[in-house]
């Protein structure tokens, strides 16, 4: 049993918070300050930070408001994970410390740093605006306030979870692609776009979707699920991202993007051979010119090492392929019926 486990069973103990500090008016680069305070079991990270600010170092700067996991303003990275300070128990974090007894507290990633633990939220707000993430009512203005716009329970269930988002930006902070390119739409924005796009009261689906399938949009998500895993409200964010993709392909026929072509190639290959034909996937996704320019030098090395995927005629179909193809086609019939039923509704 390690020392930290023994101490962590106590009802009160000394805990060290290693807190990210940076004041752009004074500091040339960020640094960490250690604050060791005596705490009782049941204290949240936010209450501990409040104690430090009131009793140890008044210059420590962080954002917080509701203290109840509702407003989303106290999101920060605690022990390398973005979460709300107000709903995070210090005692739970003691298990996760890389150095026993030292809880690391840092600002959210992928947003510009203002000071200490405070980041600029404007880039996120601007993206929300850029993708028109509000309901633009289908109802003529003269009827506003006079007529109801009923929503069925089945429809509400589609976006019920998505409406739980409190815009804390934990998912934004953990996003892999945003870390690689700040222009990327970001998971919180995709979630909100999905929520708007499945709302029958909204009239801007086409316009919103047209924006989402452009560069740095929905197809750039790399399916790493970090957003979903870090969501403080446990929203299945990837379901929303996949939902936008499904709508783009199936219902609105927006197939003229590399992302959609790449995804459709899986469907096509499975239907024909039961296996993915990897050799031609780059060409089918991005065309011959892109493939020659981007992959030729690497393909040469791969040929030398005999690790090139086989050309399409040599991809062996799966055993019992005829039976499988018949089943696949039968399911296509079911899907066509589903679509007909849905468009008839």
């Amino acid at each position: 049993m390690s020392d930290s486990t023994i101490q962590h069973n106590e009802d009160s103990r000394d805990v060290t918070f290693r807190v990210h500090r940076f004041n752009p008016q004074v500091d040339s680069k960020p640094y960490f300050d250690d604050y060791t305070i005596r705490l009782e079991k049941g204290i949240t990270v936010l209450r501990a930070l409040n104690y430090i600010k009131e009793h140890v170092d008044a210059s420590l700067t962080f954002r917080a408001f509701c203290q109840a996991g509702i407003c989303g303003s106290c999101a920060m990275r605690v022990n390398n994970m973005s979460k709300l300070a107000c709903t995070t128990q210090v005692w739970d974090e003691l298990d996760k410390c890389r150095e026993p007894g030292i809880i690391k507290v840092e600002p959210l990633r992928n947003l510009p740093l203002i000071k200490d633990l405070v980041v600029e939220m404007d880039p996120l707000v601007e993206k929300m605006k850029g993708y028109s993430n509000w309901v633009d009512s289908k109802m003529p203005e003269e009827n506003w306030g006079r007529k109801e716009f009923p929503v069925s329970e089945a429809e509400f269930l589609k976006y019920d979870k998505a409406t739980d988002c409190i815009l804390c930006a934990s998912c934004v902070s953990e996003c892999t692609i945003l870390r690689a390119n700040k222009q990327y739409v970001s998971p919180a924005v995709l979630l909100k776009s999905y929520r708007m796009n499945v709302d029958s009261r909204d009239s801007m689906h086409e316009q919103r979707l047209a924006g989402l399938v452009k560069d740095h949009g929905v197809w750039d998500c790399t399916h790493c699920y970090r957003c979903q895993e870090s969501c403080v409200k446990h929203i299945p964010i990837m379901d929303a991202i996949h939902g936008i993709r499904e709508e783009a392909i199936a219902e609105r026929g927006v197939k003229d993007t590399s992302g959609a072509r790449h995804a459709e190639a899986f469907m096509e290959d499975i239907g024909k051979k039961g296996k993915l034909v990897e050799a031609t996937l780059p060409i089918r996704t991005n065309g011959v010119v892109w493939t020659m320019k981007n992959l030729l030098p690497m393909a040469f090395k791969m040929v030398l090492k005999r690790r090139t995927p086989p050309p399409p005629p040599l991809v062996k179909s799966t055993k019992d392929i005829e039976k499988f193809r018949a089943e696949f086609r039968e399911m296509s019939g079911h899907v066509a019926k589903d679509h007909a039923k849905k468009s008839g509704e």
Binding site: N181, C224, R226, M267, L276, L281, V315, K319
Partner: protein, 282 residues
């Protein structure tokens, strides 16, 4: 000899053949046997699920049903196949309506999805069934000279509602196995991060940035090699390594091994036998 239905991932039949070759070499040494499912099809690679959710359910119900027919658990050695087939299983197990629809079609081939076979990663089988103590006893050439950067990849960890074996924030399974093989693992931020594979053809620049960052951290932490349980992560970290590092202005290189290869090395097989010389970075 405990048997498993072995799911053949598309990538292991084409670009990363060394994975299945390695497993075939040592499986009997560890008292397990992978029975290849020749009738299985591509899982949809984390793409079919939104192109056509119903085809996605059908295809993977069929993959699992083939294992159920043999009365065996389905074992995969690709993270994305693992996550994809487990996601389909979860959907099938939660919806009687979907099960009925799919089974009606599958019955024409004499198959039925019942939900009786588990879908597991090779890494999980090694830890939970073979056991770390047995593996420790069988090691002939401990990996004691190696400082290893374990790279879990995303789809063996996340979403945790579908995977659930490791804590996605602090995974330990791969570290435990590498420890049993005699290796020393390093602790670094990228061990549970993404390799960028799934956007290589759609957002190449972003993917290469993601890969370069992972490779660089492993090198900065003075790791001798990276080990991954996923052939897709391997393809990026090995195959695209030179391109990614060149773009980020980094010098140097680091070998990347499949999980199945380091098991083979520790059990006394040679690099040539295991197909390690097929890697781009050697």
């Amino acid at each position: 000899m405990k048997q498993y239905a072995y799911y053949q991932s598309c990538i292991n039949e084409s670009m990363t053949k060394e994975v299945d070759r390695s497993i075939e070499l040592w499986q009997h040494d560890l008292g397990i046997e992978m029975v290849k499912l020749h009738e299985s099809t591509c899982c949809g690679g984390s793409n079919l699920d939104y192109v056509s959710p119903k085809h996605f359910a059908l295809v993977n119900a069929r993959n699992i049903a083939a294992a159920e027919k043999l009365g065996l658990d389905l074992v995969v050695s690709c993270n994305t196949c693992l996550m994809t087939i487990r996601s389909a299983k979860k959907k099938l197990d939660e919806s009687a309506e979907l099960r009925t629809e799919v089974n009606e079609i599958l019955s024409k081939e004499g198959l039925q999805y019942r939900g009786t076979s588990e879908v597991r990663h090779l890494l999980w089988v090694l830890i939970d069934d073979v056991g770390l103590d047995t593996i420790r006893e069988k090691v002939k050439v401990p990996l004691s000279k190696l400082r290893i950067a374990p790279f879990y990849g995303c789809h063996i960890l996340r979403p945790s509602t579908v995977l659930g074996k490791d804590n996605p924030m602090e995974p330990t399974s791969l570290d435990q196995l590498l420890d049993a093989l005699g290796g020393k693992t390093i602790r670094y931020d990228h061990k549970n991060r993404c390799c960028g594979f799934h956007t290589l053809l759609v957002a190449e620049e972003e993917s290469l940035n993601v890969a370069a960052e992972a490779l660089q951290e492993a090198m900065d932490e003075k790791a001798d090699c990276i080990v991954t349980p996923c052939p897709l992560c391997h393809t990026v970290l090995d195959g695209y390594q030179a391109k990614a590092l060149k773009k980020s202005g980094s010098h140097g290189s680091i070998p990347v091994y499949h999980l199945s290869e380091v098991v083979g090395l520790a059990l006394g097989f040679t690099e040539r036998q295991l197909g390690i010389r097929r890697h781009i970075v050697t």
